[in-house]
């Protein structure tokens, strides 16, 4: 999952050939890699790929800070 998430974020969202590799603990929003709309798209991707539904109240920084926290969150919902 980590790999899949990283690939989606790097290729589809960041989509910049100059960008190197994404650290799994990198703060996605805080570092400016993504903006909030990018985050929403990421949520859409997660819902589609992992068959979960993310309720509005779960849309918090704690859950979606980095690839690592996302993995933890998704696993908790499965």
């Amino acid at each position: 999952m980590i790999e899949e998430l990283s690939r989606y974020i790097t290729e589809d969202l960041i989509n910049d050939p100059d960008f190197g590799t994404l650290e799994t603990d990198e703060d996605l929003l805080g570092s400016g890699l993504l903006d909030s709309l990018g985050m929403m798209r990421l949520v859409g991707f997660i819902e589609n790929n992992y068959g979960i539904k993310v309720p509005t109240e779960d849309l918090t920084m704690e859950n979606f800070m980095s690839v690592e926290t996302i993995e933890k969150y998704v696993n908790s919902k499965k």
Binding site: D16, M39, R41
Partner: protein, 1371 residues
Amino acid sequence: MNENKRYQLTATQTQMWLAHQLYPEACVLNVVNTFELENSLDRELFDRSFAELQRQLSVFRLVFGIQENHPYQEVRPEPTRGLDWVECAPNEWKALVDHRKTQPLPIEETVFDACVYVLGEEHYVFYLNMHHSVEDATSSTFIWKALWTLYFGFQESGVFPSLDLIPFEQSLTEYGHESLASLDTQYWVQQSAAHIPQRFYGELSKNTLESQQLRYAIGKERLIKLKTLLKEPTFSSFSEDLGVFTILLTVYVAFLSRITQSEKVQLGIPVHHRSGLKARKSPGLWIEFFPFVTEVASGLSFKELYAQIKSEGAEFFKHALPGSSSAEANRSNQAIFNFIGAGFDNPTDWKVRTNWLHSGQSDPAHGIRCHYTKMGESGEPELWFDLNEALFKEDQRNRVGRHYLKLLDAFLDNVEQAFSEVLLEDSSLPAGDMPQVQEVPAVLGEKVNHFLRQADQIALVEGDQQFTYAQFNAALAELSSQLKRAGLQPGDRVGLCSERSSAYVAAVWTCLREGYVFVPLDPAQGAQRLQFIGENAEVSAILCSAEQEEAGLWRSTPHRLLSLSNQIFSSSACLGNPSFPNPDQAAYILYTSGSTGEPKGVVVNQGALSHYVQWAAEKYRPGNESLCMPFFTSIGFDLTLTSLLTPLATGGKVVVIGQKGSGPDLAVLELKNYQEINTVKLTPAHLQLWLSQGGVNPEIESCILGGEDLKNELSVRLFQAGVHRIYNEYGPTEATVGCIVGEFSPEKHREGSTPIGESVPYGGYLLLDEAGVEVVHGLVGQLYLYGANLAQGYWKRADRTAESFVEIAHYPGLRLYKTGDFARVNSDGDLIYLGRRDEQIKRNGFRIELGEIKSALRKQEGLDEVAIVYDQGESNEEVVAKEADTHCSNCGLPSNYPEADFDEEGVCHLCRAFEGYEIKVDQYFKTEDDLVRLLTSKQGRSSHYDCLALLSGGKDSTYVLARLVRMGLRVLAFTLDNGYISDQAKANIQKIVKQLGVDHVYGSTPHMNTIFVDSLHRHQNVCNGCFKTIYTLSTQIALEKDIPFIVTGLSRGQFFETRLTEELFWHTENSTDSIDKIILEARKLYHQEEDAVKSCLDVSMFREASTFEKVEYVDFYRYSHVSLTQMLQFLRTEIGWERPTDTGRSTNCLINQAGIHVHKKKKGYSNYAFPYSWDVRLGHKNRDESLDEINEAIDVTEVERMLDEIGYVDHEAQESNAKLLAFYTGKTNLNKEKVWAQLREVLPDYMVPNDVIQVEEIPLTSRGKVDRKELLSAYHTEGEEQAHAKQPENDIQALIQEIWQKVLRVESPGIESNFIQLGGHSLAAIRVTAQLNEDLGTELPLAWVFEFPTIESYAEALETHMRTLLEEENS
């Protein structure tokens, strides 16, 4: 150059490009920014930096083109234009920019315009306008930063740095490399699927490009509150921006819901698509529009609404992937919400003031756009509203921002508050305390005493009797002593049961003056109902006419019965000086229909009535004359009180018109016999009858309409009939006769309903929405009344009184009467009555509670459930017109065209006949050379033009214009703007005249809608009236400019329809010349017809024969034989004409389909069927092309909206199709005749259902209400089955059936069917009787229709009658 690589446009670019094609002359797509610098500038370096910017950023070098019908973009290797430098004074630049920003960009050559205004050594304005197809807001921030990065980079290092930005075309080629698999385009189309047009402030969006932008600072205080709120867990989001977005969107949704009064809200949101790092380095157009659709319950608090929008917003963004939207998904976004997070970044060395300017235009589909941005002059967050100028009048525009901010402030102040309860405007209630009840006028007492002493003056006229004031005085004295003798005390109720008579008038006055409470008992209301009223009101006595006494109604009554007759006028008694009753004593109790089934008595006090009479006497009095009004309406109806009281309070007189015989009350038709009447009060239904049956007395100066909605169309007819003071009086019984009154103005009131106007001075009204909050102008609200005119309440019904006379939280201490009536203030500021929205209906002016009928019916045994439905006949349309079952195999003429007759080959009689005179028709047509000769024959005269060409923008007229120009003629093109020309057609016109280099004028008239309505009534289409307007206005211009010819572009078929009738060719002696003469004569007569064009426009020139010599009319297609295919090809290749797509049809005129719809409904076939059949016959089009155009789908909703907009009312449909239907479930099948007989005992005639139908079950809607539609559709299907009912057996029955069929518009009514059951009513009875009398030469009485209510019984009576007549003659 052509070797540049070409790129496809993205979906959003394609939309922009299309918009550019539509409005090539417009500035709607200009994205304009100014950068005001107050520092020194190296001008040469700035110029070079801008050149370098163009070199490095390919967006500047993009241009657009079209190849094989597909637009493309390519990057030019060289700059497409330079940077202008303009020196001007510091106070001049804004005006220069305001002009410059409106200039369209020629995107085939360049996509930008740039200029530096030099205002001084240290003062410059850099102006940059980029076309929206290559630019969005974020992109403009990149470009600005790129420009100064180059400038300072060079200044520092002597070389231009390389910009870290990605060329647009490179992003384009990678565009769509996203997770394409997850694109859900269908999601967006479905999101927007259920589209209903939104009415902003009650008005529909109108097509105009012009828009005004109003800007509001959000302000520090609000921002702090906003940010504090976003820190709370309930409101927190991924980022502050997303939080601000969600709050502002929530407020926008609340705002739209409020101003459209709709729970469903739809808006468009542009998504920036710049989430990734790369996209944040790519200039160009990246945004994409997506629809946001939501349903909001009105009771939601801001907090709850926020939670809903936050969750729906999350779904929105999850699906908003680049490339997944479409034009289709966005077609119905009439409101836009544009949140722009980006802002301009400025160099620290410069003092810069940036500003993103509004071009002055917007997409015409957008009614309101709301932007959140920091790109204004202040650099601080602001809200900008772009407002469609046709939708918002100038003085109304500022309320949008004001209302939005009210809601935002309410949200920030109290998140628990329901958004629907926020007051958008200050209350309309007068400041301070409620208006004090003024001193009650003494009009009913002392004032009348004054007249009573004027002995010889006539007070009452009844048939050939006349009574003076002295006699009236005696009658009052006599009655008053009779009542006293009977032991009555002031405050006692006295029933008045009488037909209309002078004595009744005296009885009302006596009660008022002596303090007895009168209770009208109209004998027409049914015995049981009257008995109920008598008992319920606890009358102490009943004054009863001899006739009613004889009828035996009160035979077994416990009430004391006193005789009422005109003999009281012969009394010699004389009034003393009575002490008049107190204003707060009851004056009368009037019973109205009650929803629980029992009529309820409205108790009105003396003060309220006095106020009304005093006010009405002043308001309605014609000059210095006294009022003379007829008393001819039901005594049980409070509008009648005006006629009984007001004239005598002015020393005038009352003309009493009694009722004749049984059957419907047709006293209105007798008004014409009384020349002394100067003022009439009546219902619109009565007026309709009056106008249709002989018209209005010339002596009448004022009419007061009341009781139901008054359409302007009817007011116009009354005005044209010579009555120049027309009042529309609104007032429920509970607010004493009339309390809001408007005066009709023929200049102002053209469409829809006549306003109900202003409140009487002793009362007022509030328009409240469901939340009990005053609605803002434009919106629909329920009328709540207050003031000295309110009734005391309902007699002995404290519960109902408490329900209807209420106090509302926002207006403590104010007694309000809740009317159940709805109204709105239109854009002219007039108050318009909109009718009722509950179980109450109005039928011929009578208010009916369906519940009352229901309870009456429930008294029948064996019934389980009952539902009463008022069928206004909308769904009966199919019955009216016969459908075409076939079309002529040659020309396509439909079989339902009148007299159409087909032979065995399926060819119509017209085509066959045409074969016989085709050669002669050929001689009538000539060549284009002949046309040139004709049109140049008068050259050398003073005119600047050879001819005036009528240009509608459609294919035929565009072709004509182009050909005329090609022939070398000097042409002035003329277009009538009838208010419904589509925008694309207008763009076509603009394009065509520019391209052909001809002068062009638009004509218009403020009376267009009146003309349309008249044309719909006369010809069942809009085209006739429109054509005539075109002829009239163009002839005026031709005369003014001395132009000798007007060239029309009617197709051949169309001028066959209008003037070349086939008969012209039948006579061999008719040469072409004589045909021309006949047509000219016909044309002269045509312009003298009495119709709306003649009454609204100046047609005086058509009276002069010389006009027709000065201006000749030439039909172009008489001289040209071009086929549709040839024409379209010519137009496409030579002119670039494109068929407008925004009408949804093959025409360029939006209202055209309304005409076709009405024509089809009334006649069964399109008004184009006949002319097009001639087009086919003459080879102008082929049969398939013709049928395709005729059979184009009609948008009925849109048609109805337009018909409503122009004020068209289908009277026939309203009159004869409306039915009151009772449905019931139960074990027994009721005998209808018996039910009717019993209902008539309990209910007045107008409340008796036309039909009583047994059903299996009463269907309910999802909301648990009776499903009217379902019931009606079952009823109509069943009706078709009943068509096999017993059919006529002899000629007389057949004749009657034919007439019923025509009048009642029912297919083959069975001879046992009941007239009332079939929807018959008084007006229909008049028509049926009149027609029979005309056909048979008889004088059958009207009442027969009701006495013999079936074809069978009527025919029998008729036969007997005829036989008697014959026998009489023979003997």
